[in-house]
């Protein structure tokens, strides 16, 4: 099966109903995308499919064969740069396990809403769980990435 991952053509020999997360981590060795719950409840495995956040653990790889998949390893652009800068400046992560998924969602939000308010951030990030409860820092970092440090 041919895939487009982070702008690169990849080919894998897997069943079409294999979860995309399995393909990324086990077949392609791209372990930046994390396995959390496996049932689309935690958001740790979030990637972008054609620019839209998608839980890789419940995405059959056959459904993304003709689409552009972006993972944390390939995340790029102004919003991604701003998020990385803010994440580092505010020192958002604690254990860090969920942060790839958090960042993927945060960037997707900022691509659509340049300066989100608290409600918009909370709604967008509601599907990304952080067991260290870094939610306040995440919200602050998204504001910072949006250029709103007030």
């Amino acid at each position: 099966m041919k895939l487009s991952i982070n702008g690169q053509a990849r080919e894998v020999d897997v069943d079409e109903d294999t979860p995309l997360l399995w393909v990324l981590r086990d077949h392609l060795g791209m372990t930046g995308t994390k396995y959390g719950c496996g049932v689309a409840q935690c958001g740790a495995c979030t990637v972008h499919v054609d620019g839209v956040p998608r839980r890789a653990c419940v995405t059959p790889v056959g459904s993304v064969a003709e689409r552009d998949v972006v993972t944390i390893e390939g995340l790029a652009g102004a919003e991604a740069d701003a998020v990385r800068t803010a994440w580092e400046a505010i020192d958002v992560p604690q254990c860090g396990y969920c942060q790839a998924g958090q960042i993927m969602t945060a960037v997707a939000l900022l691509k659509e809403v340049a300066k989100p308010n608290d409600d918009q951030i909370d709604q967008a990030m509601a599907g990304n769980i952080c067991r260290c409860a870094t939610y306040v820092r995440i919200r602050r970092a998204i504001h910072s990435a949006a250029g709103d440090d007030s």
Partner: protein, 204 residues
């Protein structure tokens, strides 16, 4: 079966379709479906009583969790057989497809996958179509009101129930979830028969 539904629409005054050349077999819901057969309902002579009896069967479908969970009374969908608040805490958004950063399609793909329901059109019904917590009479009044049913006239209402691909999900959920009673064809035929009988509603 669809030809039978079309015949009912024609009886209700629709002139857009050609009547079937020969009577189609009557819709007979499976005894296991929990729905009365349309034939037994059609035997009720009084129009109002027949319409109300038919809508009681339609209501068994509309109020089933597979339908009701996406017609919630708030901006948050419900889930499961108990109709519990959806986890994660997703919200309707501007168009029923979620909000920037967390859309329905973030988890719900084009097909069911393991425990996650899927459909290419997965989204929440508009707030005007909220059914949760309402009586069957109130839902009935809502369903036939174009101002609250998405602007559907009678023909469109039958078509929606009988053919809409997202409505079809109600009978094709993941294995751990119970399908809605009957099937989509029966649902369309029941709605057509209810409209033909005058679209009377149970008391609110």
């Amino acid at each position: 079966m669809r030809r039978f539904a079309l015949g009912l629409i024609l009886a209700a005054g629709c002139t857009k379709a050609t009547p079937p050349a020969a009577p189609a077999a009557p819709v007979t819901a499976s005894p296991a479906s929990g729905l009365r057969s349309l034939a037994s309902l059609q035997a009720i002579e009084d129009d109002e009583a027949r319409a109300i009896a038919i809508f009681a069967e339609v209501g068994k479908i509309l109020t089933h969790p597979r339908c009701m969970n996406c017609h919630p009374s708030t901006d948050r969908p419900l889930q499961g057989e108990a109709g519990l608040p959806h986890q994660p805490h997703v919200v309707r958004g501007a168009d029923g497809h979620g909000v920037p950063g967390l859309v329905c399609a973030s988890c719900h793909g084009e097909t069911n996958f393991e425990n996650v329901p899927g459909n290419p059109h997965w989204h929440l019904a508009p707030a005007s179509m909220a059914w949760a917590g309402k009586s069957l009479g109130a839902i009935c009044a809502q369903v036939k009101d174009p101002a609250r049913n998405g602007g559907l006239d009678h023909d469109a209402l039958v078509k929606h129930m009988a053919e809409d691909p997202l409505v079809a999900y109600g009978w094709d959920p993941p294995a751990h979830l119970e399908p809605a009673p009957g099937d989509q064809e029966t649902a369309g035929a029941l709605v057509a028969a209810w409209l033909e009988a005058g679209a009377h509603c149970p008391p609110p």
